[in-house]
């Protein structure tokens, strides 16, 4: 039963959570298992509502926790179903063992994460530390920066996850609180259009699935070399995912009229001398600052990271090469490396982009706003470093007066 609501494209003012739920619903998942947690709860509520209204024909599994949620969608995906789940922070770490299985099993689960600070210091507040904690899980990790992009990224995520040359779970990250509860204008595409966009997935060679009565070994590794072989293939699939995501983003643009630059969105970087790098909602503010700084004659650009894993090394090297200095904004920290995690990864590109001044700006953790004033200050610091002045590599901007 397809209700009228989805037969035509619509423009609505909805929250980031609602956008995630709309994106998922339009992709027709067959099994959904989620457990509510702040700030993701609304995703669960919205999808339950869609189900109750007959707009989502999925098996909704009521679970007692996130660990079950991830195990259920993983198993359902192994049985061939299209699946969806959503979580945040404590919920994400509660499903961590299952999360690693999902990736190791190479099943195309799609999950959204409303990013929030992780356990350690109880913080019911925004921050990207939970996303960072999944760095080496083997998942593909996308980051959205506004409500429209959340919806669009979920649709792209299915196209990417279920590609027969990828076969990997994909998580779509968006800032909890800042985006999860922010209501803004979102264009909701028609169901027909989404069906058409996802239809090439049906023409692929079928992936093996679990079938009752047909015993099969799954998630097994053989011995020694078998394990290495599966990791080797996983690596190769992640490398392929980068190019695939570029293609999917481009095709999405043709189909829906919106595209986001693929793995990275480079804003006014072509003639820029200095560049800021960031991921998530903070890039909206940063973009505004870049525009204002440009008016003042500062040659600055912004690089918005849309894909955190696999890390878009090649694209970033291409965009950042030849710049005089870089500043990286992190809403999370890299314990034991005395810097922000995205900064650490950008710094690892030094052989490709040369030994230019790079600065790590740690800010925006625990719901601390990253203001235009603070970003102006970062621009000033990066500018100064680009002029050859001495600079402090790591700064806790939220701690400064």
């Amino acid at each position: 039963m397809v209700k009228k609501e989805e037969s035509m494209a619509a423009i609505k003012v909805i929250t980031g959570n609602s956008a995630a739920a709309y994106g998922a619903m339009l992709c027709r998942p067959e099994v959904v298992a989620m457990y509510p947690i702040t700030p993701q709860t609304e995703v669960v509520e919205e999808l339950s509502r869609f189900h109750a209204e007959g707009r989502l024909e999925a098996e909704m599994v009521e679970v007692e926790g996130e660990n079950s949620a991830m195990n259920i969608v993983t198993a359902a995906s192994a049985a061939g179903a299209r699946v969806f789940t959503a979580t945040s922070s404590y919920g994400l770490v509660f499903m961590y063992d299952a999360l690693l299985q999902t990736a190791g099993y190479r099943v195309p689960v799609v999950m959204v994460i409303a990013n929030r600070e992780t356990p350690g210091i109880t913080g019911v507040s925004a921050g990207q530390q939970d996303m960072i904690s999944t760095r080496d899980s083997g998942w593909i990790s996308l980051v959205a920066s506004n409500c429209q992009e959340i919806l669009d990224s979920v649709i792209m995520a299915y196209r990417l996850a279920e590609d027969s040359e990828v076969q990997l779970p994909v998580m779509v990250n968006y800032d909890g609180f800042y985006l999860s509860f922010l209501a803004e204008k979102v264009e909701i595409p028609s169901r027909e259009k989404v069906d058409a966009f996802l239809s090439p997935l049906k023409n692929q060679p079928p992936r093996p699935v679990l079938v009752p009565g047909k015993p099969a070994g799954f998630g097994t590794h053989g011995l020694l070399e078998g394990y290495i072989e599966l990791r080797y293939k996983h690596f190769a699939a992640l490398e392929r995912a980068k190019g695939k995501f570029e293609d999917i983003d481009r095709l999405f643009g043709k189909h829906f009229g919106r595209s986001y630059g693929g793995q990275v969105d480079a804003y006014r970087t072509d003639d820029a001398e200095i560049v800021l790098v960031a991921a998530g909602s903070v890039t909206g503010t940063a973009q505004r600052v870049v525009d204002l700084q440009r008016e003042k004659g500062v040659k600055i650009g912004l690089v918005r990271l849309r894909m955190f894993r696999p890390f878009p090394r090649e694209r970033l090297a291409q965009v950042l090469k030849g710049k005089k200095a870089i500043g990286v904004i992190d809403r999370s920290i890299c314990f034991g490396w005395n810097c922000g995690p995205i900064f650490m990864e950008i710094r690892a590109l030094t052989p490709e982009i040369g030994p230019i001044p790079m600065q790590s700006f740690i800010c925006g953790m625990a719901n601390m706003d990253v203001s235009t004033y603070q970003i102006d200050r970062m621009v000033e610091l990066v500018q100064s470093a680009s002029a050859g002045n001495e600079y402090q590599e790591v700064r806790w901007i939220s701690m400064e007066e």
Binding site: R207, P208, G217, F218, G222
Partner: protein, 92 residues
């Protein structure tokens, strides 16, 4: 040059009735069971207790499948007639 892949698929899929049992667990062994059929009463304890189920029922006696037997010795320990002894590899 890479060695040929073991798995046909991207993920670790295998046929439960073939590939999974193809591990050469017999090579892990340092001792193996030897059954004295004169002492054996064909009670089946060895077969019941064998963790890898490699004590094969031959109708009137039991025979260890040495391709998979890891030499744990549980069969010898559980045999009520002491009809099974563990002998060192290479001794017989």
């Amino acid at each position: 040059m890479l060695r040929p892949f073991q798995f046909k698929e991207e993920a670790g899929w295998s046929h439960a009735d073939r590939l999974l049992l193809c591990l050469d667990t017999g090579s892990w062994r340092t001792v193996h069971p030897v059954v004295d059929n004169d002492k054996c009463s064909y009670c089946g304890f060895c077969s019941l207790y064998c963790p890898v189920q490699c004590m094969a029922n031959r109708g009137d006696h039991f025979e260890p499948n040495l391709t998979y037997c890891k030499g744990c010795g549980i069969c010898a320990r559980e045999c009520p007639r002491k009809a099974i002894v563990m002998e060192k590899e290479g001794d017989s």
